[in-house]
């Protein structure tokens, strides 16, 4: 049986018809004397800033970026091993494609089963959502000196798109194993970088290192953060005290002090014959730090689960562990997704701090190139730091927009 939706006669909203740009300007820019003053002053400022920016952009010498682009992207990766980062890029393109595709297919199937309308994500929407990243890729490629990187990047985009459609048509039985495909592909990307005579993460640098520290930091810290969050809500006083103590201690100090501890103090508290490399020690410090923050994010999610859910689970006789695993965590973790993206953004920005300890990640790379003999004392900090700023900005801005989109979609924060 189908139910016809009742049709209401809609009264058109009573809006005064717009009467051209002059009217719009009078309403939105010059509606009283102080707004007019503000508009004029700000317009002067904006025009001056835009002119300065445009003039700077047009007159700047980009040779320093062109010559050091590889350093910015992958650090001091051996020049004859460049196929390795590209292979890893392709692995990630396939992974993101397949995972995205199968998630979309899952949403489609769920919508079909429940009879709800399913709005398919079109290529146009993806371009609208991720245009800053696409623009950034174009900007970065414009600094390359050969045509190979451009061709390889287009290839990676095509492969990623192909994987997306592959992920959509995968049969359901295969789709259940998407996580395994993702793990295998991540492992494959690591092997292609480090395996068989490659370079392990101790030798990584540039943007690659920032991304690695962010992904690895969040992924490894997540289980610890989950345990700490559960510990903080535990009814056992000793467990709760330990969790609260750890979380509050870590959240009370800046990341840089934890990194300094990782650089100079970890060596004192572990056995003398264990000597982790420098990047590993940074990673350990980041994980120890992030775990406390993720714990707070997860705690927020746990608090968002209505009490009735737990009570209902008890009523049907679920054991505490099963209540947690089947009832509480699925809802809590779903609610934490936007906040986790926020945490991801903040860690991505914070990975620049390893620069202080002399690791050549993106920020440090764009900084030190100014002391190369060809550019020393030329004051090109504006150019190189702006380039780094652009990359971080695009990454963080796109992710924060996605996070807001997810928040709306999941209905988090709506009362």
């Amino acid at each position: 049986m189908t139910v016809e939706a009742p049709v209401f006669e809609e009264t058109p909203p009573q809006v005064e018809p717009a009467r051209g740009p002059m009217d719009w300007a009078r309403k939105n820019l010059f509606n009283n004397w102080y707004n007019s003053l503000l508009t004029l002053a700000l317009a002067a400022l904006v025009i001056w800033a835009l002119a300065a920016l445009l003039g700077g952009l047009l007159s700047a010498d980009y040779e320093i970026i062109r010559a050091n682009l590889r350093l910015f992207m992958i650090g001091e990766f051996p020049a004859d091993q460049l196929w390795r980062p590209w292979a890893a890029t392709y692995c990630f393109a396939v992974m993101f494609g397949v995972v995205g595709g199968s998630l979309a297919a899952g949403a489609r199937d769920r919508a079909n089963e429940s009879g709800l309308p399913y709005v398919r994500t079109t290529l146009r929407q993806i371009v609208i959502r991720f245009w800053p990243i696409l623009a950034l890729i174009a900007v970065v490629l414009s600094f390359t000196t050969t045509v190979t990187p451009t061709l390889l990047t287009i290839g990676a985009l095509v492969v990623g798109l192909g994987s997306y459609y592959l992920g959509r048509v995968l049969p359901r039985a295969v789709r259940r194993w998407t996580w395994l495909i993702a793990v295998v592909l991540i492992a494959a990307s690591y092997i292609s970088l480090a395996g068989f005579g490659g370079v392990g993460w101790q030798g990584w640098g540039g943007l690659q290192l920032n991304l690695f520290l962010t992904f690895a930091g969040i992924l490894v810290a997540f289980p610890f953060g989950l345990l700490l969050a559960l510990g903080r809500r535990s009814s056992l006083p000793v467990i709760r005290t330990i969790s609260v103590g750890y979380i509050e201690l870590v959240r009370g100090v800046p990341l840089i002090t934890v990194l300094i501890a990782g650089a100079f103090a970890i060596g004192f508290i572990i056995p003398r014959d264990v000597r982790p490399g420098f990047v590993t020690r940074m990673l350990i410090a980041i994980i120890a730090f992030e775990a406390a923050y993720i714990a707070e994010v997860v705690r927020g999610g746990l608090q968002a689960v209505p009490r009735g859910q737990v009570e209902a689970a008890h009523a049907v006789g679920l054991a505490p562990w099963k209540t947690m695993r089947l009832i509480v965590l699925p809802q809590a973790l779903r609610a934490t997704i936007p906040a986790m993206v926020g945490q991801f953004i903040s860690l991505f920005k914070d990975t620049t701090l390893v620069a202080v300890l002399g690791i050549t990640e993106l920020l440090e790379a764009t900084f030190v190139v100014n002391s190369q003999t060809a550019y020393l004392g030329k004051g090109l900090f504006v150019v190189t730091l702006s380039f780094a700023a652009l990359i971080f900005w695009v990454g963080c801005y796109t992710m924060s927009r996605e996070s807001r989109r997810l928040e709306r979609k999941l209905g988090v924060g709506e009362r």
């Binding site: 939105n28 920005k349 900090f381």
Partner: protein, 390 residues
Amino acid sequence: VTVVEETRHRPPLWRDVRVLRAVIQVLAGAAVLIILYVLWFNLTNNLRAAGLPTGFDFLTQPLGVDIPGSDISPSAPIWRGLLNAVKNTLALVVVGIPLLTLIGVLVGVARLSTNWLVAKAAGLYVEILRNIPPLLIILFVFNAVVLRFPVLQESLNISDLVIVNNRYLAMVGFTAQPNFGPFLAIMAVALVVAAGVWWWRTRRSEETGVPHHRFLWALGAFTILTLIGFFALGGPIGLSRPILDGRALEGGYTGLAAYWAVLAALILYTASHVAEIVRGSILAVPRGQSEAANAIALTPFQRLRYVIMPQAMRIAIPPIISQYLNFTKNTSLAIAIGYAEMTRITFQLIGNGQPAPQMIFLLMGGYLIFSLIISLIVNVVNRRMQLVTR
């Protein structure tokens, strides 16, 4: 009545909740203690093996490093250098927090302005600054802006009020003249009188219903008394203009370029976050409130001041204070441009051969104390806000 004998059935030990709870807690506590003990054992052993002190006696040893912008010599004890570093961190926090609040609130309100250009410009500011790493902003401000200021000999001098060069920034300041002590006493008296006036206006307003204008009245009383005192004592406060004397700046408020760079960068960064919070909090005030204010014909300013802001502030204050905490922690990034705050000094001293574990312990302890103080303020403020409104 039949009495049913209740058979008290105790479950076996391994299924008794009380036993399980106790066992789990003892095990967890023991595990943590054992880990801490092993770490402690390694620590003392490794320190001894490296020939480093295991206590805190080294704090009385000579500093051994030069601290820019201070008169502490390298032969002064380490604890003096550390205290100076705490002072330098506080100099950032105390000046930064009011300024970032001001900018943040202004930009947050501006984002909701009916003036299209103002709203868009504020939005642009927030979206750009919020998504760039603070360390990058600090490096940018220092290397691309401050270091490009003229050198000391060619300082930019704005009629002796402000002197700018790439090493210092000096502003005209105040100095105490003779009779400054009595003047402070007069100001204290004026404050008491102003409080009295405030109380009197409030009483009067409650009794007669006339508008109290207590702020204006109190301010007026305070200003008049202070001015009378100022002229009667023959000007106990004088202006101190900065003077460029060879290679040094004297007088006025003088700060290292690195200090101003960190301050400006972190204020810009944190203010963008505060602006987002302010905007969100204003939007969280129900629409009806604003419409009701319109209905009783409040002016836009009155609507903001008396209806929207008091409600928005209740929502905004806890997250804003956590931004203060972030600001305080981010002052540690000054290490990158060599401003001698806590982290920088610790880093330098570790590089100079002082024992790292103790130095890091002191450093983290210092930040924890800052965090604790700020958390205490949060709790007090939260409690007050709730008492007032609920």
